[in-house]
Each structure stands twice: as C-alpha cells, then as structure tokens.
Symmetry: C2
C-alpha cells in the first residue's frame, strides 16, 4: 500500500497534512480525557467544560460560557440543564436583565470540579509531560496562530468566493 502518484499528479500525503493530524490527535486526546469524568461522574464533555469554566471563573452567564469554550449555545443550554438536574449548579437571576442568569458551581459541583481538575491535569501530564519545554512553547505558538486563522476562516460564512 504505497502512495500512488496518479495521472493527474496531485497527491495529498495525509501523514504530512497538518490539519488532518491535528484533528486526529485532538479526537484521541478528547476520547482519552473523556474517560476521566464520564465514567466517574456520569457527565459528558460539554458538562465538564461548563464545570471547568465555572470552576475557573466563578460566575458566568450561559452566553459567556459558550463564548469562552467555543460551544454552541444549544449545547451549553443542554449541559446547564443536565448539570442543574444533577444539583451541580447554582442559578441566580439577573435582576437587571431577566433574560440571562448567573451560573456558578453548587457545593456538589465544586466537589466534582475539585476532583476532576487534578485528574485532568495529571492526564495532561501523561500526554504532554515528556515533550521538551521548547517544543511545548513552539506547540503553543502554533496553536495560537492556527486557532486565530481557523476561527477567522470558519467565521466567514458568506464572505468567501467559491
């Protein structure tokens, strides 16, 4: 099964194709990470992200959570709903704007956060721990620029010629 060089000539070597490799890596990382919390607390990726945001920032509206975590608002909405059902969230109405509500972790939610966060950190260590700090810095730099670029490209819904 060697790369074929077909008549027309253009062959994309997926192994060398960074977007592809990035996506594959991310999906594996995501899968591996999910096991940390999904099994233990019966919550999914979206739920964990909400908890993580609130664990870090204390109090946010659903909108803010969505923005910071790059999650679709329906996803946030549903994650908040299930977390509320599980008593992991505290919801406080905003007197000045009754459309939104301030969300934060309930004691139970905080417990979960305090239990999962270190585990996630440890897992990250196992995955990224052995790369040199120079490589890690470079990695972060690339992630930064790529994220920015891709976000710009992904946003332009109509502004692209086809």
């Amino acid at each position: 099964m060697k790369p074929m060089s077909n008549k027309e000539g253009f062959v994309l070597r997926l192994e060398d194709f960074l977007p592809y490799r990035l996506v594959v890596a991310a999906s594996l990382v995501s899968q591996a990470t999910a096991r940390t919390y999904s099994t233990k607390y019966g919550i999914g990726i979206a739920e964990w992200r909400v908890i993580a945001q609130l664990g870090e920032f204390g109090t946010m509206t659903a909108k803010q959570i969505g923005e910071r975590s790059h999650m679709h608002k329906t996803k946030v909405s549903r994650a908040v709903a299930t977390l509320t059902r599980k008593k992991m969230l505290a919801k406080r109405a905003n007197r000045d704007d009754k459309r939104e509500a301030f969300l934060s972790l309930s004691p139970v939610g905080l417990e979960v956060y305090e239990s999962i966060a270190p585990a996630a950190q440890a897992l990250s260590q196992r995955m990224f721990g052995e790369v040199s700090s120079e490589d890690r810095d470079a990695f972060e730099r690339v992630l930064n620029t790529v994220t920015a670029r891709a976000a710009a490209l992904a946003d332009t819904s109509a502004e692209l010629p086809d």
Copy 2:
C-alpha cells in the same frame, strides 16, 4: 471575570491547558476545512477522508481505511455507501475473502479528489503557512508523541483503575 482561586485551591487554567486548546483548535480547523468540500460537492468530513485515503493509496478495504483514518467502522461503512451512491467509488470483490471488498476511486471520485486536494492544501497553507519551519517541526513532534500517548490511553478500555 478574573480567575477565582477557590477555597480548595486547585484551579485549572483552561487557557493554558493543552488538551483543551488542542481540541478547540482542531474543531475550528475542522470546521474551516469542511467548508472546502461540503458545499462544493455535497460530501461530509467522513466522505472526504475516505476519498483522501483512496486518492493517496489507490486501493484499500473499508477496514484499512478505518484504521488509517482513525474512523469508526460504521462511519466508514456509511461514508462508503453514500460515495457509492454518488458514483465516486469503484468496488471490486475480493475473490479470496468474500467478506471484504477492494475500494478505489471511480473516475468521478478521482476528479473530486483532484479538485479538493489542492484546495485543502491551499487552505492548510493559509492556516499554517506563516509559522516558522522550526515551530512547525516542533509542532509535528509534539503531535506525534501526543497522538501515540493518547491512543494508548484511549485504547485501554477496561485496563484502567478507577
């Protein structure tokens, strides 16, 4: 909205948390890339991956495609089905093992490949083009180790203590 340092003390700074950033970047890249083919040829990510594999390697079984592209076999199966419906694939039975079949691109499929592949390449250039080659090398190194590590962790379905 500044990071809170809650009582228990452990705070996970998501902005610095590599698995998280990796996943976010990948999802944006994936979104941006999808636009290249989804609109133009009415095919999805899975379909494109199948085409890309066949474009690169010529002939493969569904199993091989799944392995190389890290796709679930049902996903491959369905992608192959829709591509077949679109006359983009050629299927040849394997006389020695009637369970599997050899897949390759039909002329139409090859056309699609030859049209999408350079576009994907160009898009990749727009996203990764401006990073230095040293950074890119480092990036690849990290992707390699992380992919390996994560794959190992993700595989162990039952072998983890909880």
